[in-house]
Symmetry: none
Subunit: 156 residues, 2 copies
DNA sequence: GCATGAATTGGATATTTATGCGCTATATAC
DNA sequence: GTATATAGCGCATAAATATCCAATTCATGC
C-alpha cells in the first residue's frame, strides 16, 4: 500500500521525458511501469507534484513540472530557521502574531518571506514577535495547513 | 460579431492581474467588462492565447500566460521588491505617501523608478516611507490602475 | 441583387479532471 | 492485546473544460 512515494518519482520522470496531455495516457504508461492505479489517484498525484498543463506553442497542451521543482538547500535551511525559532501562532482576523524565542523573530521573519507562503502578504518582525499579514481571502486554517506541509517534515 | 480581438486583450489582462482558477470566474469578470460570451467561447479564447494552468505552489492552480508573454525576469524581481515591501498608499493632491516595512522604502523606491510607471514623476525614499510625486494631469486613480495592472496582488 | 466561404458563436454534449465517501492497511497510543 | 487515528486508495460522481454541429455575420466575387 505504501507505494505512493515511488510512484510519484516515476510520474515525475514520465512527465519530464514525454509530452503527455491527459491522465489516461499517463495511466497507461504507469501501468507498463508496474503501477496500476485509477485516474482518481493519478489526479491526486499530479496535484501533489504541482504539475501544470501548459501550451506546446501550437495547438496542444501537455503536463509540465513546476520550474522550482526541488527544495533548494537554502530553502531547507530557512525551514530549519523557522523550526528553531517558532513558539506559537495566534490569529485575530486577517492578522497573525507569531511568538518566537528571544532574538529569533528576525530570522524566522526572513525565512517566512523567503518561503513565500501563498497565504502571507507580509511580515514584520520585532525581537520575539512577528506580525503576519494574511492575504485577502486567506484565513488561519489556510496558513496552518500550509505550515503543516512546508515546515514540519522535509521530503527527500 | 467581430469582438474577439478586443475580448482576447481583456482576457489577457484579467489573467495577468488576477489569480483565476476556472473559466466560470473569468466569465463573470468578462461580463462586468461588457463581454458576454459562453464558456465554450472562452475555452477557445484561452487556447488561442495559449494560456496554461499552473500550480500556485501549494494547493491551488491558476491560469497563466505563456512565458514569452510575461514580463522579464528582472522586472519580476522588482515587482517582488514592491510586493514584499509595500504596506499602504495614501494621497494628498498631487502627492502620495507609501508606507513600507522598515528598511524597505529604498528597495521599493528603486523598483518604482525602474518600473517607470507613467504616472510617477519621481520618488524620494526614507526608511519606511516613500514620497511620490505624480506627473501633472495624473491622479490617484490613474496610479492605482497602473499598480493593479503592473503589480498584481496588491490589495490596497 | 445572389452565391460562396471564412470567422465567430452558442447549445448540447463529450472528454477530462477533481473530489466526497467509505474501506483497508498501517501506525500510534493506551 | 485493543482502541483510535491517519494515509492511501477506488468507486461513483461532480466539476471543469473541450469539441461537434448548426446558425449567424461579414466579406468577396459574380
Amino acid at each position: 500500500m505504501r507505494q505512493r512515494h515511488n510512484r510519484l518519482t516515476v510520474v515525475k520522470e514520465l512527465i519530464k521525458s514525454n509530452r503527455i496531455d491527459n491522465q489516461d495516457t499517463l495511466l497507461e504508461m504507469l501501468k507498463t511501469e508496474g503501477y496500476s492505479v485509477t485516474q482518481a489517484t493519478l489526479s491526486r498525484d499530479l496535484k501533489m507534484l504541482k504539475v501544470g498543463k501548459i501550451s506546446d506553442g501550437w495547438s496542444g497542451y501537455y503536463y509540465a513540472l513546476p520550474d522550482n521543482d526541488l527544495i533548494s538547500e537554502s530553502e531547507k535551511s530557512y525551514i530549519q530557521d523557522v523550526r528553531r525559532g517558532i513558539l506559537s501562532i495566534e490569529f485575530s482576523g486577517n492578522f497573525g502574531v507569531i511568538k518566537t524565542r528571544p532574538g529569533h523573530a528576525n530570522s524566522v521573519g526572513i525565512a517566512l518571506d523567503v518561503l513565500a507562503l501563498p497565504e502571507i502578504l507580509g511580515t514584520l518582525a520585532g525581537d520575539d514577535t512577528i506580525f503576519v499579514i494574511l492575504r485577502e481571502g486567506m484565513n488561519k486554517e489556510d496558513l496552518q495547513d500550509s505550515f503543516k506541509t512546508r515546515i514540519p517534515e522535509i521530503e527527500e
